[in-house]
């Protein structure tokens, strides 16, 4: 890593303060914006000819394309988190008109904490199965800032019961079908509050 940074700096006209950035998303955060500062350390103007973020979820913004010797610039990368969870890595490629370093890459790593882990998110019975209940487990990763409320099933074909588990933040959602005679789909909604904001967790239920 050190080797690549130093060798790139020796040859490349654009010198970056940091090409690798890592951020941790806060609960409810919708986008992550990171600015990569650079300056043109060469004695000739350098033009950034294209930027490829590889994903519509990631946008790149540059105030201008051409940078005079010594001029400073900032590349702003905005990553729309969507419903992603866990470690997300985005590689952004820039092409320049400089033969010494025609491509430059910056990296953004965003760690998106999963506030509630629901496993599994699908409970299904086959047509004709016994009317046995099945369970999904819910783990609130920050129990001191979270709570879950009473579950509601969208379909009358399923009943849902929530019980607290052995330790704080641990819950069991027990779902029982009222009939498995025919195919039916439903969702069990579990209203929840994370850091004061409401969000609904859901478990899909089906007789297939």
């Amino acid at each position: 890593m050190a080797l690549s940074a130093s060798s790139a700096a020796a040859a490349a006209p654009l010198v970056w303060e940091q090409t690798d950035r890592s951020v941790v998303a806060t609960p409810g955060q919708e986008t992550a914006t990171v600015v990569y500062a650079f300056h043109n350390a060469s004695d000739h103007p350098v033009q950034i000819t294209s930027i490829n973020t590889g994903c519509v979820c990631t946008s790149a913004e540059l105030a201008k394309d051409s940078y005079a010797p010594g001029e400073k610039g900032e590349l702003k990368i905005q990553f729309t988190l969507g419903d992603r969870v866990g470690r997300q890595e985005r590689l952004i490629h820039l092409a320049t008109n400089d033969p010494a370093s025609p491509t430059v890459m910056v990296r953004l790593v965003v760690d998106i904490p999963e506030l509630a882990v629901v496993r599994p998110r699908l409970l299904f019975w086959k047509v004709g199965d016994a009317l046995e209940s099945k369970t999904a487990e819910i783990v609130l990763t920050q129990p001191e800032h979270s709570e879950v409320l009473e579950p509601k099933s969208t379909s009358a074909a399923f009943t849902a019961k929530l019980t607290a588990g052995a330790r704080p933040g641990l819950y069991r959602l027990e779902i029982t079908p009222t009939s498995t005679a025919e195919t039916v789909h439903g969702v069990v909604h579990l209203p929840a509050v994370f850091h004061g904001k409401s969000r609904t967790l859901s478990v899909f239920v089906a007789v297939k």
Binding site: G54, C55, R121, V187
Partner: protein, 156 residues
Amino acid sequence: MAPASRDPTAVDRSGPGLFRRAIAQAGLLLLAAVVAAVVTAWFHPPPPEANAREITLAQTRTDFVGEKILWVDARPSAAFSQEHIPGAVWLSEEAWDTGLAGFVEAWTPGRPVIVYCGSTSCGASRSVARRLMRELSVTGVFYLHGGWQSWKEEPR
């Protein structure tokens, strides 16, 4: 070349003999590594989504004869609306829960699931395949090598 010792009990110190010895030792290291790896995997088993496997379009033609593949489109919604593999459901991490409802409706136990994104360079298909296995505990989830591009380019 060293004159090989004629004493059969002596260690063969010729070049080829030493090379054979190197191979034997390396084999021993490999064996020890396999044992250590198995023990590690026993104590720290891989997550279920580790089984999400990449598959080529040609393989899908031979591996799932007579089965109805459930295609999952992990591209941006605009690309999906424009055109997609017939019967595919849209499921992207942009709006996971929305897509998940559609997936669950289309999915039936045992049906092979193949996720695709734009081309070889996109990673969304694998992320979606892995997340499906992780969250829904469904099995038989694959991601398509070359994605939508390979589907479009397939001669038919």
